[in-house]
């Protein structure tokens, strides 16, 4: 198998730069909608040491000093630019797996007669010209290696000008390269697994590649065994293979301003449930438990601190937003204590299983809402999340950070087109 992973560079920032050339060469961050964390950073911002997910309030001084420009997320724009990018890339291979908003795998079996490095450059050039987005291309024999090749291209560890083809390397060259890459860069190796493996002396990709897969499988998981095989060029994941469903779905945000009363907390929690439930239904699962938590700002040590979570079991698993909301709000009411400045709330849907026959439940009004939910998801998918919502989500969203730094709907709104003089 030969395949490419194509990944947009600082995708959200790049989308913004297409329509606002003044951002070129400047440090730019894109902030998440309502918690003010960095969700995309330009190279200039990364160089300043700003981490992914860093809260805006923490980088304010740095921003002032270095002139970092912050933008709110413009998801309508990013979704449109993503569609354009993916469609252009499909010109290069009929086998495409869109993996995320800015990444796709392209199957290259049957393209071996081409110079794949040149082919990678052609992809890069075309996406850049047609859509305006810079991308990097990693080429290898397995998905895990293609991801790693892409990482190398992006960080300039190997390859040239944003294209890295591992299939052109000898095994000695690979060993040298992999010895210098930490295992946390490997696809599917999370922070916890990294820590455990480092504890056993496995720190770099080369060390993991040469570890005994069977032993590690017993100690960790079959997923790690597959990863090791893939690192050795043995494909374990097909192109269209659907990754296993998530075992828990979480949704949480920090508030744009402190929240004191129960009502805005309820709105926020209902909103998070709506987001999480949408994900739950999209993967065809139902949840058996709903967890809700609130906390004050731990960085403000002088203020009274409160942090508590509560898990509400459902008598029968469900994917119904209204029902999950009711359970979460019931939990929230038990948790809530007046007199605190709440900074964050969150929910988690737990005990997930495959959706089956219609369910009934403690909180249920014995009415099956699945059709309502399907319509809700479809409409929210078409017109943006939150077009339709349950009444508990509220409409005022005081706790919501203003999206005042959001750029225009350059490609989605007639009244917001780019202007030319």
């Amino acid at each position: 198998m030969t395949l490419a992973l194509v990944d947009g560079n600082n995708f959200y920032v790049s989308c913004e730069r297409v329509f606002n050339p003044k951002l070129e060469g400047k440090p730019v961050v894109v902030l998440s909608n309502n918690d003010g964390c960095a969700v995309a950073r330009s190279a200039e911002v990364k160089a300043l040491g700003v981490k992914m997910g860093e809260p805006w309030f923490k980088m304010r001084d740095l921003a002032k000093k270095h002139g970092i420009l912050a933008l709110s997320s413009n998801y309508a724009l990013y979704a449109d630019m993503s569609n354009r990018m993916m469609t252009v890339l499909r010109q290069f291979s009929p086998d495409q797996e869109v993996y995320s908003i800015d990444e796709c795998f392209l199957g290259l079996d049957g393209f071996q007669h081409l110079d794949l490095i040149e082919y990678g450059h052609a992809m890069r050039q075309r996406v850049r010209q047609w859509v305006g987005i810079p991308v990097c291309v990693g080429i290898a024999e397995t998905k895990t290696l293609a991801k790693l090749a892409n990482h190398c291209a992006k960080k300039n560890h190997a390859g040239k000008e944003g294209v890295c083809d591992l299939t052109r390397m000898t095994d000695t060259e690979r060993s040298a390269l992999f010895s210098n890459i930490g295992i946390r860069e490997i696809w599917g190796v999370g922070p916890r697994l990294t820590e455990q493996l480092v504890g056993r002396g496995i720190t770099n990709v080369e060390a993991l590649r040469n570890s005994d897969a069977k032993t590690l499988r017993r100690e960790f998981s079959v997923v790690l065994e597959r990863t090791i095989a893939e690192l050795n060029g043995i494909p374990c994941m097909d192109l269209e293979e659907v990754v296993p469903n998530k075992q828990q779905i979480m949704s949480s945000r920090s508030f744009g301003q402190y929240v004191y009363d129960l009502a805005p907390l309820q709105e926020a929690v209902a909103c998070y449930i709506a987001i999480a439930a949408e994900k739950l239904r999209s993967q065809g699962s139902v949840a058996g438990m709903v967890q809700v938590y609130v906390r004050t700002n731990p960085h403000k040590a002088d203020a009274p601190q409160y942090q508590r979570g509560l898990t509400v079991p459902l008598t029968e698993a469900s994917d119904d937003t209204l029902l999950l909301t009711r359970a979460a709000l019931w939990g929230l009411k038990k948790l809530y204590r007046p007199g605190y400045a709440y900074q964050k709330a969150g929910v988690a849907l737990l005990n997930l299983s495959a959706a089956g026959a219609p369910q009934m439940d403690l909180f249920s009004t014995a009415k099956d809402n699945s059709r309502v939910m399907a319509v809700m998801d479809r409409i929210n998918g078409m017109w943006g999340r939150g077009t339709l919502h349950s009444a508990a989500e509220g409409v005022r969203h005081d706790w919501h950070m203003k999206r005042e730094k959001v750029s225009p709907g350059y490609t989605t709104r007639w009244d917001q087109l780019p202007l030319v003089t």
């Binding site: 998801y75 309508a76 354009r84 800015d102 078409m382 087109l417 780019p418 003089t421």
Partner: protein, 155 residues
């Protein structure tokens, strides 16, 4: 990708797109809806002559993924029939030829001008009421953002 793409279903980078997202059932423009069976005995006399209805998208857009719309402000290009408030159809897939009308980036701003290659460099020609042309020397950087294919003017 076609008319069935769902706009607005954004995910974060690294987060998987939904596999089972319900697709909205929107008939594609331009495709005649003859899939429904016609009752026996009533053959439609028009069926043999069915053709796609004319579509402006088809007429104006050659490369869907590379085409963007922009709005004109000012009167620097009236000589080219491009007026204040006009809607321009811009194709980024095309290579700008000499004398193409292009969207260029000058000092971080978009401007619509005619690209003219001259011996000493490139001239971005305006053709309006006294607006001056912009000269770009060989040592200066010029970004051509896209090639203007159509100007849509409201009467």
């Amino acid at each position: 990708m076609n008319g069935h793409q769902v706009p607005g279903c954004a995910t974060l980078p690294g987060e998987r797109l939904f596999a089972g997202l319900p697709q909205p059932c929107i008939p594609q423009p331009g495709i005649p809806m003859l899939a429904t069976p016609v009752p026996a005995g009533f053959p439609s006399p028009a069926a043999d002559f069915v053709e796609d209805r004319l579509s402006l998208d088809e007429h104006l857009i050659e490369h869907k993924e590379a085409t963007f719309f922009v709005r004109v402000t000012g009167n620097s290009m009236t000589g080219f029939g491009i007026h204040d408030g006009d809607l321009l159809v811009v194709d980024r897939a095309l290579h700008p030829a000499d004398r193409s009308v292009v969207i260029a980036v000058v000092d971080g701003e978009f401007t619509v001008k005619q690209l003219c290659r001259i011996p000493t460099g490139v001239l971005l020609r305006a053709n309006g009421n006294g607006h001056s042309d912009i000269f770009v020397g060989p040592d200066q950087e010029l970004t051509v953002w896209g090639v203007v294919r159509w100007s849509i003017h409201s009467i």
